[in-house]
C-alpha cells in the first residue's frame, strides 16, 4: 500500500484543481456526475488489476465492451421483457470470454498479450459479422437505467470496489499475487496457479460486462463504445502503481488510477486543452508518473510469465 500513496496525493491535487476551476464540481450533483463518468473505467481497472497483478495482460476488454453492448441491443431490440435475461446473458458472455482467455493463456501457454490481442480481433470481428457491420436493435429503458441514473452507477461502483478489496484479502487474492510474483514458488506451494489466473481473466471479463452495461446504458448503442478502453484500463492500473509483470500493487490504487485518469481529462478540458494537445499532455503525464513511481525499483521484464 505504501507504493500507492503518490497516486492518492496526485488524485487529491487534481480534484482540488478541478473544484477550483469549476465550483459546480463540489455540489452533490456535480460530484455525482463525475463518479458516474468514472464508474465504467474504474470497474474495468479493477478487473484489469486482477489480471495484471497475476502477471498477465488483458487487451480484449475494449472489444468485449463493444460486444456486450451490441449483443444487448440486438437481443433486447427494445423489448422490456428481455432486459433481465439479456443482462444475465451479458454476464455469462463476459465470464466465458475471460474463461477462454484464461484457458488459452494457461493451458496452451500463449502469452496473454497475444491471447487477448487475438481475442480482441475475434470478438469485434465476430460481433459485427453477426450484425452485418453496425449495431442493430435497441436497448430497453430498463437496461439503460443502470448507466443513465447516476445513483445506480455509483452504487455498482461501490459494490465493485468492496468486492475487489474483499477478494484481494481472501485466499484467492493472496495466492493470485503470489502467483504473479513467483509462479514457480506458488506452484510448489500447492497454489493452483492456472486456476487463479483463469479466475482473474474471468473477473476481467465480468468487469467488461458490467462496464458495458453502464456504458450502453449511459449513451445508448454505438459501435465505438469500447474503443481503446483496454489501453485506458491498463494505463489506469499502471498509474495506480501496479507493476506490469505482476506481484505488486494494490487494487484500490488501481481504481484510484482510473479516477486520476478521468480527473486529468476533466481538468485538461476545463483549461481548454481539449482535442489535439490533450493526447500529448496525457502521454507525457503517464510516462512521468510511471517513471517517478518506478525509478527506485529495478527495471522489469516485459513479459510477465516466463515459463
Amino acid at each position: 500500500m505504501k507504493r500507492a500513496i503518490p497516486i492518492f496525493v496526485v488524485l487529491a491535487g487534481l480534484l482540488v484543481a478541478i473544484a477550483a476551476a469549476n465550483p459546480f464540481f463540489l455540489e452533490p450533483a456535480g460530484f455525482l456526475a463525475f463518479l458516474k463518468r468514472v464508474a465504467p473505467l474504474a470497474i474495468l481497472a479493477a478487473g484489469q488489476y486482477f489480471v495484471i497483478v497475476s502477471g498477465e495482460f488483458d487487451l480484449s476488454v475494449g472489444s468485449l465492451v463493444t460486444v456486450e453492448v451490441v449483443v444487448a441491443a440486438r437481443l433486447i431490440d427494445g423489448d422490456e421483457a428481455m432486459t433481465w435475461p439479456v443482462l444475465a446473458l451479458l454476464v455469462v458472455i463476459g465470464l466465458l470470454v475471460g474463461l477462454v482467455n484464461g484457458l488459452v493463456t494457461t493451458r496452451l501457454r500463449v502469452p496473454s498479450f497475444i491471447t487477448t490481442l487475438g481475442a480482441m480481433l475475434i470478438l469485434s470481428g465476430a460481433v459485427f459479422l453477426w450484425t452485418g457491420g453496425a449495431p442493430r436493435g435497441a436497448l430497453s429503458q430498463g437496461f439503460r437505467v443502470f448507466g443513465r441514473e447516476g445513483v445506480w452507477a455509483v452504487a455498482i461502483l461501490a459494490v465493485v470496489v468492496v468486492a475487489a478489496v474483499l477478494l484481494m484479502r481472501a485466499d484467492f487474492g493472496r495466492t493470485l499475487v503470489a502467483a504473479g510474483d513467483n509462479e514457480k514458488a506458488a506452484r510448489l506451494s500447492g497454489v493452483r496457479v492456472d486456476r487463479v489466473r483463469v479466475f482473474a481473466f474471468m473477473l476481467s471479463g465480468l468487469s467488461a460486462a458490467v462496464a458495458g452495461i453502464l456504458l450502453g446504458g449511459f449513451a445508448g448503442v454505438s459501435a465505438q463504445v469500447g474503443q481503446s478502453l483496454e489501453f485506458q484500463a491498463i494505463t489506469a492500473v499502471v498509474l495506480g502503481g501496479v507493476v506490469l509483470g505482476g506481484g505488486r500493487g494494490h487494487v484500490v490504487a488501481a481504481i484510484a488510477g482510473a479516477f486520476t485518469l478521468e480527473a486529468l481529462f476533466t481538468l485538461l478540458n476545463l483549461h481548454g486543452i481539449s482535442g489535439a494537445l490533450e493526447y500529448a499532455v496525457q502521454g507525457v503525464i503517464i510516462i512521468a508518473a510511471v517513471a517517478v513511481g518506478g525509478l527506485r525499483l529495478p527495471a522489469l521484464r516485459l513479459t510477465p510469465s516466463k515459463v
Binding site: 493472496r174 503470489a178 513467483n182 514458488a185 510448489l188 506451494s189 506481484g247 505488486r248 527506485r296
Partner: protein, 483 residues
C-alpha cells in the same frame, strides 16, 4: 595487485558495507568469509563494477579505478564468477563465454575464432562432455558452472573473483576446480574466493578476510587460524555443538511413507521407508537423482511406476494434501514470493490448500527464530538464512506428516545453519518424517539417522547413522570407480 580501502555502500538507506579494506597480491588466493548477508557478494560486485561504492577507493595495479559499468572492470582485468548463474540458456556456450567481448574480423563477429578459443579452454579444464556450439540450456548444472568458469578464464584477467563456485558442484568436480585455481595462482593471478564451506577455505586460501554485518572483522593468514576461531570471528560467538543429538530408537514411530520399486523418467526401482520422528539423509553425486526423488515424492514430477503408500501424489496439490512438504533447493526461484511480506509467504501453503489454522503465524516465526520476526517486511530484504526460515515456516503452518529438505543449508551461513539443524531435529521430534538431501557430507552424516545413497537414479545402498564419508562416497561413485 588489488587494494580496496574504506569501502562503504548502502541500499535504500540501509548500510550494507562500511569501511572495508581488502587487498590481494599476485598469485594469492584470498578467501572472504562471513555469515549470510555479511556483504561478501556486495563487496565483490563493487569490485566488478556492478555496484558503485558510496565511499572508499579501489586500486588495481597501483592506479585508482572507479567502474561505472561491469565492462570497465573487465577491461581493468577483473573477472568474476557470480554466486547466481549468469548464463543465457538459449545461446551457445561460445556465445556465452564471449558475451560482450566477441572477437571481430573486419567489424563482423568471428564465430570460428570464438568457438576455437572456447574449445581450447574446455580442453584445459578436461571438460569433454559438451562443446562450444551446445546450447547452455541443454547442459547440466555442473556443466553450466564449468561454462561460468571458462567465461571468467577467457577474460585476460589479473584478478579472478569466485563467489561460492562450489555450491553447485559435487566433490570430484570441486577437486577439478582446486587444480584450476592452483594453475591460476601459478600464473600470478590473484584469486578472491568466497565460500561457506570452511574446509575449502583451509584447502585453498593463503589469507582469509572475515566480514560481519558489513564490517571488516579481521584478515589473517589461513595457516594461523583454526576452524573454531574462524567460526567465532564470523558469528561472534562459539558454536558449542555442530549438530543436535540424533533421535533415539524409541522416538522413531509409525511408517509415514513407503516406496516400492517406484520410478519415473529419472528414477528407477526405488525402495524407501520414512518413519515419523527420523531424519533420513540422501546422498549422491550431482545428477544422481536426489532432487528428482524429492520432487517425485512431493508430486511435482510424479512417479509413473511402482508403489507409493499411503498415497502416490500425481500433482503438487495432491502431495500437499497428503501432508507432504518440500523445501526446495533454490529458495529464491522456487521457494518464495520475494516481493511479498513474510506473513504472506508464511501463509502461502495454508492459503493455497484452504488450510484453516493460521492464527499462529507470529508464534511460528518465533519458533523458527526469525530475527527480527517482522511480519510485514518483504522477504527480498531478508538474508539467505532468514529467507530459509520463512520457507520452513511456510510448511510448518500446515503441520506436514512428511517434510523433504533439498539442500536446506545451501548458501546459508554457519549461524543460521545451526539454527536450521536444530529446527529440523525439533520438527522430527514432533513426529514428522524428514528426508534430507545435502551435498555437504559432514552435514549429511551429522544430521541423518540413516542414509540412502543414490546413483544414476537408483538406490545404491543404505548406510546407518555415523557412516564415514568414505563409505558414502564409495557407494555414490561405485560405477566410476569400476569403470
Amino acid at each position: 595487485m588489488l587494494r580496496m580501502t574504506g569501502i562503504g555502500k548502502s541500499f535504500l538507506g540501509i548500510r550494507v558495507l562500511r569501511g572495508i579494506d581488502l587487498s590481494a597480491n599476485a598469485g594469492e588466493v584470498h578467501a572472504v568469509v562471513g555469515e549470510n548477508g555479511a556483504g561478501k557478494s556486495t563487496l565483490m560486485k563493487i569490485l566488478a563494477g556492478v555496484h558503485q561504492p558510496d565511499e572508499g577507493t579501489v586500486e588495481i595495479g597501483g592506479t585508482t579505478r572507479s567502474f561505472a559499468h561491469p565492462v570497465e572492470a573487465q577491461r581493468a582485468g577483473v573477472a568474476i564468477i557470480y554466486q547466481e548463474f549468469n548464463l543465457l540458456p538459449e545461446r551457445s556456450v561460445a556465445d556465452n563465454v564471449f558475451l560482450g567481448r566477441e572477437p571481430t574480423r573486419r567489424g563482423l563477429v568471428d564465430r570460428a575464432a570464438m568457438e576455437e578459443a572456447t574449445a581450447r579452454l574446455l580442453d584445459e579444464l578436461d571438460e569433454h562432455g559438451f562443446g562450444p556450439r551446445d546450447l547452455v540450456k541443454d547442459l547440466s548444472v555442473a556443466q553450466q558452472q564449468v561454462v561460468e568458469i571458462v567465461k571468467a578464464l577467457s577474460v585476460d584477467a589479473r584478478i579472478v573473483v569466485m563467489d561460492e563456485p562450489t555450491a553447485a558442484l559435487a566433490e570430484h568436480e570441486v577437486e577439478l576446480l582446486y587444480r584450476l585455481i592452483r594453475r591460476l595462482q601459478g600464473r600470478g593471478i590473484a584469486v578472491l574466493y568466497i565460500s561457506h564451506r570452511l574446509r575449502e577455505v583451509f584447502d585453498l586460501a593463503d589469507r582469509v578476510t572475515v566480514l560481519k554485518d558489513g564490517a571488516h572483522v579481521a584478515t589473517v593468514p589461513a595457516a594461523d587460524v583454526t576452524t573454531a576461531e574462524l567460526v567465532k570471528m564470523m558469528v561472534g560467538r562459539e558454536l558449542d555443538a555442530y549438530f543436535p543429538p540424533r533421535a533415539d530408537a524409541s522416538a522413531v514411530g509409525e511408517v509415514r511413507l513407503t516406496l516400492a520399486q517406484a520410478g519415473n523418467a529419472k528414477l528407477d526401482g526405488i525402495d524407501l521407508e520414512l518413519r515419523a520422528g527420523e531424519i533420513v539423509g540422501v546422498a549422491g553425486l550431482q545428477g544422481s537423482g536426489r532432487s528428482s526423488l524429492a520432487k517425485a515424492i512431493f508430486g511435482a514430477e510424479p512417479f509413473t511406476r511402482g508403489e507409493m503408500t499411503p498415497v502416490r501424489p500425481a500433482s503438487v496439490r495432491e502431495g500437499v494434501a497428503a501432508g507432504i512438504g518440500l523445501v526446495t533447493e533454490d529458495r529464491k526461484a522456487e521457494g518464495l514470493a520475494l516481493n511479498q511480506p513474510v506473513r504472506d509467504n508464511a501463509l502461502l501453503v495454508a492459503r493455497a490448500i484452504g488450510h484453516r489454522s493460521r492464527t499462529a503465524v507470529s508464534d511460528l516465526l518465533r519458533r523458527v527464530q526469525l530475527s527480527p520476526p517482522r511480519e510485514e517486511t518483504e522477504v527480498k530484504y531478508l538474508s539467505g538464512g532468514n529467507q530459509q526460515k520463512v520457507v520452513l515456516a511456510k510448511w510448518l503452518t500446515v503441520a506436514p506428516k512428511v517434510l523433504l529438505f533439498d539442500e536446506p543449508t545451501r548458501g546459508v551461513d554457519v549461524g543460521a545453519k545451526a539454527a536450521i539443524h536444530d529446527l529440523m531435529r525439533e520438527i522430527a521430534g514432533a513426529g514428522t518424517a524428514i528426508l534430507m538431501i545435502s551435498s555437504e557430507l559432514p552435514e549429511l552424516i551429522g544430521m541423518s539417522d540413516r542414509i540412502v545413497v543414490l546413483r544414476d537414479g537408483r538406490v545404491a545402498g543404505h548406510l546407518p547413522a555415523g557412516a564415514t564419508e568414505e563409505a558414502v562416497m564409495a557407494l555414490a561413485a561405485a560405477d566410476e570407480a569400476a569403470a
